[in-house]
């Protein structure tokens, strides 16, 4: 079509897994020097296509061309050698190794055949990080870094291969705005006339900022490719989901006279939290905003007893409760949806049904100690339908679902449990716009039914759209509690960047005063 030959070309690619046709006659064209966004609903086949390009899976039919020559990767290593680097959707570093060791894994400088040259390894890594302008210590252990820094290590690793094509599968799902900006800066510096980037994301704002063109896929099939400069976000979304999505709406009215369900006073942990107090009212969605590392997840974990508390009282409907571990919390009707589904939220080797039933197994799906399979399956199928979880059946092993659909399973799991207080930590991470909208509606419904919801999110628009009130945190303390009317992007950012000790001309409705 264009005069210039494509950098990377995908044509007529099919890929099936048992019970699933993930890709059908897929095509795609990456031009030299461009950033091509790839969008589609959860389970549309984006990650599958990337896995074919990186040689993890092989296509059933079709072909790839790199610089006009046939490109047939046989393994991840082979793909890297041919000039294609991929940052996968899931965390893919070795947590116990250092930054330098991770970047150069498989290509360690050696002395002789067997011994490693760790000095040169660290020097090379330092030089690379310097060049990329990333303030990381090559000797830091990766498992101890923040998620954002780990993401930067993945990027440094991918770029260290000096690839022609860099593919990123939802690289910003766990990053905040400033971190996203850093990432985009790196991408801009990487794109030269002879390289290209494929950028997968569910965040339309980002795509508008970084991409030149956007390719939309749906149900494993190619739909269209648009120029970002001329396409509008609703256009793209409509192509993605095949229908129009209702526009953003603010939170429904707040009624401050509602009774308090959960009261938290002076919550502290040894590592971070200090004197965190807030009230959660019945039928309220309480947003928690703050920068990465401000302690929002820690509040949730300390609250449900997943981490030890060093101080603080928790009251539930006026009576003080003791919560020693998440099981206590669940018994009291407080459910926590963890932000890291792979580590804390899912049994990846088990099927969808078992995951959905897990937390409610004892009280809902057993009779005399035996599991009532029929009832369990019926309920699971109901939720699969209402959350639109894309899976061939309730029996599918969870690890075979796409990233976003795994997240939906976590949500289904807590819906079954029927808790009064639900804590959602980054509930829409990795979820496509259509499904996001459904989850928003679901949260609104739950609140309308009288459930109380704490929602932790790094996406301000999400906080603004849903929260009746917003708790803003900074460095382990609550720096402000804002009403929906006061909660603007600017206001939240101001409180989020306050140092403890400083006070903004704080509204009187700060934490802790019932």
């Amino acid at each position: 079509m264009t005069a210039e030959p494509a950098l990377l070309e995908v044509e007529g690619v099919d890929k099936s897994f048992p019970g699933v046709r993930a890709l059908r006659a897929m095509r795609l064209e990456l031009r030299p020097g461009e950033v091509l966004a790839l969008v589609g609903e959860n389970g549309a086949g984006k990650s599958t296509l990337m896995k074919l390009l990186s040689g993890i899976h092989t296509a059933d039919a079709g072909h790839f061309r790199l610089d006009g020559h046939p490109y047939l990767p046989t393994s991840p290593r082979h793909a890297l050698e041919l000039g294609i680097s991929i940052i996968h959707q899931e965390f893919n570093l070795v947590p116990d190794l250092t930054v330098a060791q991770n970047i150069f894994i498989g290509r360690e400088p050696r002395r002789g055949r067997l011994l490693l040259d760790d000095r040169r390894l660290n020097d090379d890594a330092a030089a690379l990080l310097e060049r990329l302008d990333l303030p990381l210590d090559p000797r830091a252990v990766v498992g101890e870094l923040t998620v954002a820094n780990q993401q930067m290590v993945e990027i440094a690793k991918a770029l260290s291969y000096q690839p022609r094509v860099l593919i990123m599968d939802e690289p910003t799902a766990a990053l905040n705005d400033a971190e996203v900006a850093t990432l985009h800066e790196l991408i801009r510096r990487f794109t030269r006339p002879d390289t290209g980037v494929i950028y997968i994301s569910h965040r339309m704002g980002e795509i508008k900022r970084i991409a030149d063109r956007v390719t939309v896929i749906r149900d494993g099939e190619y739909v269209d490719t648009l120029d970002v400069a001329t396409a509008t976000t609703p256009d793209i979304i409509a192509l993605m989901v095949g229908r129009a999505i209702t526009a953003d709406s603010g939170p429904e009215g707040v009624r401050a006279d509602r009774d308090t369900v959960l009261g938290v006073r002076g919550l502290g942990t040894r590592s971070l939290l200090d004197d965190v107090s807030f009230d959660l009212r019945r039928g309220e969605i309480l947003g928690f905003a703050g920068l990465m590392g401000s302690g929002r997840t820690e509040v949730a974990r300390a609250l449900v007893g997943a981490d030890a508390r060093s101080s603080g009282r928790i009251t539930l409907r006026g009576t003080e409760v003791r919560i020693g571990n998440p099981a206590d919390a669940a018994r009291l009707g407080i459910g926590y949806l963890s932000e890291d589904r792979k580590r804390f939220g899912l049994l990846l080797e088990q099927d969808v049904k078992a995951n959905i039933a897990l937390s409610a197994l004892r009280d809902r799906f057993t009779r005399a100690g035996f599991v009532r399979d029929g009832a369990l399956r019926t309920r699971a199928e109901q939720l699969i339908g209402s959350l639109r979880i894309r899976t061939p059946s309730a029996h599918q092993t969870t690890k075979h679902l796409s990233g976003g659909n795994q997240q939906k399973v976590v949500i289904a799991k807590w819906l079954v449990k029927d808790c009064d207080v639900l804590i959602f930590d980054e509930p829409t991470r990795g979820i496509d716009v259509g499904a996001k909208d459904e989850i928003y509606q679901l949260l609104n419904q739950l609140a309308a039914q009288g459930k109380s919801i704490i929602m932790i999110s790094s996406e301000l628009p999400e906080i603004l759209r849903l929260s009746h009130r917003v708790v803003v945190m900074s460095e382990g303390r609550v720096t402000g509690v804002l009403d929906a009317a006061e909660a603007t992007q600017e206001n939240i950012m101001r409180y989020a960047t306050l140092r403890p000790g400083e006070t903004a001309e704080a509204p009187d409705r700060t934490a802790g005063r019932p």
């Binding site: 965390f91 947590p95 498992g143 590392g293």
Partner: protein
């Protein structure tokens, strides 16, 4: 929107040296408890704190220690090897076959025995990595096979090395004249040093940690995980073979039925030394200290005439305590 860049990546990461110090702390802790236990027995019994008994402790450390050093690699890679105890007995028997029955020269027979251990490890590695049998099952099966084979090959009777000149010296001789440290101890120190260097400074060690820490990420980085797993189990097998030589050289005979139980003591030593059974963490120094703790306990309790049954109870409790303190410490630092 692309203004600030330094704060964008959040707080400055903790430096690698801090982590290294915390790694050391675990070893110091294990070492301190070793001293405490040792002092306790020295006060409790007049027979404990003697030179002869010290040497005897070292001797029993040698067998557990050699097995434990090899299996440290397997455990760091998030595997497990239950076949090292009976495997050691089979290797001792094979040493008898090579040296007594076949009359091979000493060096050749010893080398053949060690390689035989490596071969058993190779079979384990292939079962685990290629046939994808879970390590627990694969090596449990190998444990039974080795136990049976040791009895079959030896016809259920000990093989004596009386006619093999120099065999006993491998364990009980004194290479360094004037210093009363038996060769077996020197052998353990030497192989532990080699293993320590390999673990921390070689490609083998790096991939051992890497596979144990995140196997999938390692594979996606283009490393042939299957091949390295086979190498790791084979490498550990060499230590099983060596332990077979050391124990039979010390006893002067190959006892086909004595291996069972050593695997658990060796695994316990590794765990007490701070290696995580879920992989990714561990050290040779820790393992050596763990092996010392176990043999000091065995020895001290025996000297105090505590019945064997109670010795096991106490050993079990020590393992629980060691792993528990490690857990608590880890939680506090993270």
């Amino acid at each position: 929107m692309t203004t600030a860049k330094a704060p964008a990546v959040g707080p400055r990461p903790r430096s690698g040296t801090a982590a290294a110090i915390r790694g050391r702390l675990q070893q110091l802790l294990a070492f301190a408890s070793l001293i405490v236990i040792y002092t306790f027995f020295a006060i409790a019994s007049p027979y404990f704190f003697t030179y002869d008994n010290f040497i005897s402790i070292l001797f029993s450390t040698v067998v557990i220690g050699t097995l434990a050093v090899g299996t440290t690699f397997v455990i760091i890679s998030a595997g497990i090897d239950l076949s090292i105890g009976t495997g050691m007995a089979l290797c001792a028997v094979m040493s008898g076959v090579f040296l007594v029955n076949a009359g091979l020269p000493l060096a050749v027979g010893v080398l053949a025995t060690i390689l035989f251990g490596g071969f058993m490890g190779l079979v384990n590695g292939v079962n685990v990595a290629v046939l994808r049998i879970p390590p627990f099952i694969a090596t449990l099966a190998m444990m039974l096979v080795a136990e049976g084979l040791a009895l079959v090959v030896s016809d259920s009777t000990p093989i004596y090395f009386t006619d093999v000149s120099g065999y006993g010296d491998i364990s009980t001789g004194h290479l360094v004249p004037g210093v009363d440290i038996p060769n077996a101890v020197l052998v353990l120190l030497a192989v532990a040093a080699v293993a320590g260097v390999l673990l921390t400074k070689s490609v083998l060690g790096r991939y051992t940690y890497s596979i144990g820490s995140n196997e999938e990420a390692t594979a996606l980085s283009g490393i042939d995980v299957r091949r390295w797993k086979i190498v790791i189990y084979t490498f550990a097998g060499l230590f099983t073979g060596l332990a077979g030589v050391l124990i039979s050289a010390r006893l002067g005979s190959a006892q086909p039925a004595t291996g069972m139980g050593y695997e658990l003591q060796a695994i316990a030593a590794v765990v007490i030394g701070g290696t995580s059974l879920s992989g990714g963490k561990g050290s040779i120094v820790g393992t050596l200290i763990g092996a010392l703790i176990i043999s000091v306990l065995n020895n001290g309790l025996q000297i105090m005439s505590i019945p064997q049954e109670w010795q096991n109870v106490i050993l079990g409790c020590v393992i629980l305590l060691a792993v528990y303190t490690d857990r608590v410490r880890r939680r506090e630092t993270s």
